[in-house]
């Protein structure tokens, strides 16, 4: 039986009827058509499906949509401002921190959450913060540089 949930995604309120066995990742991608959130391993190991739930990064493939009732979600689509890309997104573009791009949404959200809590992280802080987001292209160096460049500007 479907359940009715109230959920805020990217500052927009939704009332949705979801099956209890639907994940938050599927709800975001299938119901809301926000396909910036990627599905990789589906088991909480790769971090591609990372979203921000009540201010904390989570793997949306391991969260049931019904468990997100009355909660606040931010996906990669929600961090752009009226001025354009979020500074972390802009830095990823400028520093060449994106190759295939599959890990990028999760990577950007983990980096953004880190910078919100700690505006001037050192390299170890950055590497630790993105340790749950796997990237198979970049070797992480450019990603770390991108996050450092945002921190330097603050």
């Amino acid at each position: 039986m479907k359940r009715l949930i109230n959920i805020t995604v990217n500052q927009k309120k939704y009332e949705l009827a979801v099956d209890p066995n639907m994940t938050l990742a599927d709800m975001i991608r299938v119901e809301l058509k926000l396909t910036g959130t990627k599905k990789g391993c589906g088991l909480g190991e790769c971090g591609a499906c990372t979203v921000i739930l009540d201010g904390k990064t989570v793997s949306s493939c391991l969260v049931l949509a019904v468990e997100a009732d009355n909660r606040d979600v931010i996906t990669i689509e929600g961090i752009e401002t009226e001025k354009g890309l979020h500074p972390v997104q802009q830095a990823f573009v400028e520093k060449g921190a994106i190759q295939c791009g599959f890990c990028t949404p999760g990577m950007v959200l983990s980096a953004k959450t880190l910078l919100d809590e700690n505006p001037h992280p050192d390299e170890q802080d950055i590497r630790k913060a993105i340790s749950g987001n796997l990237c198979r292209c970049t070797g992480y160096q450019k990603i770390v540089e991108a996050v450092q460049s945002v921190s330097a500007r603050k």
Binding site: P20, T23, L43, V58, L62, S110, A129
Partner: protein
């Protein structure tokens, strides 16, 4: 990956959760952080008819420090990431380190301390420290509640003393005696999202700042079906002045007499045994420098 269908329950009190579990018994499973349950649902390892969410129960997500009783009660549904930053965790260096080593930052935002324990994985991070600190598990059911020493909580791989109608609601940590120090070392091949190849928690208490050792607890993970106490090693330490010599002797005994590792794809039994020796010695040294 699809998740099989189930009936979803979201109790808002512990009492309600106990009633649901009493009604459905082994036809129901609890959902806390989901980092284990959802994975197992997707893999088809489990397919319960009912899933009972423990994430809206205030009694299970809050902690309370009671200095008069000398204890801290940690709600089982407390997120690992939240607990790491709790001030009350500071004297418990081993447990703090263990929690900092669970999964990744993302996993720690979801995973709960209770979940890390009830899954009863031999390599779980939080369990060795909790046993070393003589912590207790609080189990609730419709017929009341009981407290079980963490030392007796695990029965086998994936098995605990929890009955079909019981919930792990909280963990009790006791204030540590003066001149106590502790440490935890997780050893694996990666730093994040890794299962321990071997892990060791050590807690030592001294009579006065320069010894002798009055109490010692060494608990080893991933070298047996449940976290194992290194009892012969503990015996060697008690009554002795702390130092490299006695630590080496205890570590040798922990490896040869107290651990019973197996060969698997992560490492051979012999290698694990060698690592027990190295890690126990290091953990004891770290515990000594942690004395407060």
């Amino acid at each position: 990956m699809l998740i099989p269908r189930f009936n979803y329950h979201k109790p808002s009190t512990l009492k309600e959760a106990c009633e649901l579990k009493a009604e459905f018994k082994n036809k129901a499973m609890f959902l806390a952080g989901g980092t284990d349950v959802i994975v197992n649902l997707k893999r088809g390892v489990i397919s319960p008819d009912n899933l009972i969410s423990l994430n809206s129960i205030a009694e299970m997500t809050s902690n309370s420090v009671n200095d008069k009783k000398g204890q801290t009660i940690i709600g089982a549904s407390g997120k690992v990431a939240g607990l790491i930053n709790e001030k009350f965790l500071l004297p418990y260096s081993a447990l703090k380190t263990a929690m900092e080593n669970i999964g990744s930052p993302i996993i720690r935002n979801m995973a709960t301390i209770g979940g890390n324990i009830v899954t009863a994985r031999p390599a779980a991070d939080a369990s060795p420290s909790l046993i070393a600190y003589k912590a207790k598990a609080v189990l609730n059911s419709v017929s009341g509640k009981r407290e079980v020493s963490m030392d007796n909580f695990f029965v086998g791989v994936g098995k605990t003393v929890l009955n079909d109608d019981e919930i792990l609601s909280a963990i009790i940590l006791y204030n540590l005696p003066s001149y106590t120090g502790s440490a935890y070392i997780k050893f694996g091949t990666r730093k994040a999202l890794e299962i321990s190849l071997v892990n060791v928690a050590a807690v030592i208490t001294l009579e006065k700042p320069d010894g002798p050792i009055t109490d010692a607890r060494i608990v080893m993970g991933a070298v047996g079906p449940v976290p194992l106490r290194a009892k012969t090693a503990e015996k060697i330490l008690i009554g002795e002045k702390p130092g490299a010599g006695v630590f080496a002797k205890a570590a040798e005994s922990a490896a040869s007499k107290d651990s019973s590792p197996i060969d698997d794809f992560r490492g051979s039994a012999g290698y694990r045994r060698d690592m027990v020796k190295v890690l126990t010695e290091r953990a004891l040294k770290m515990a000594l420098s942690d004395i407060r």
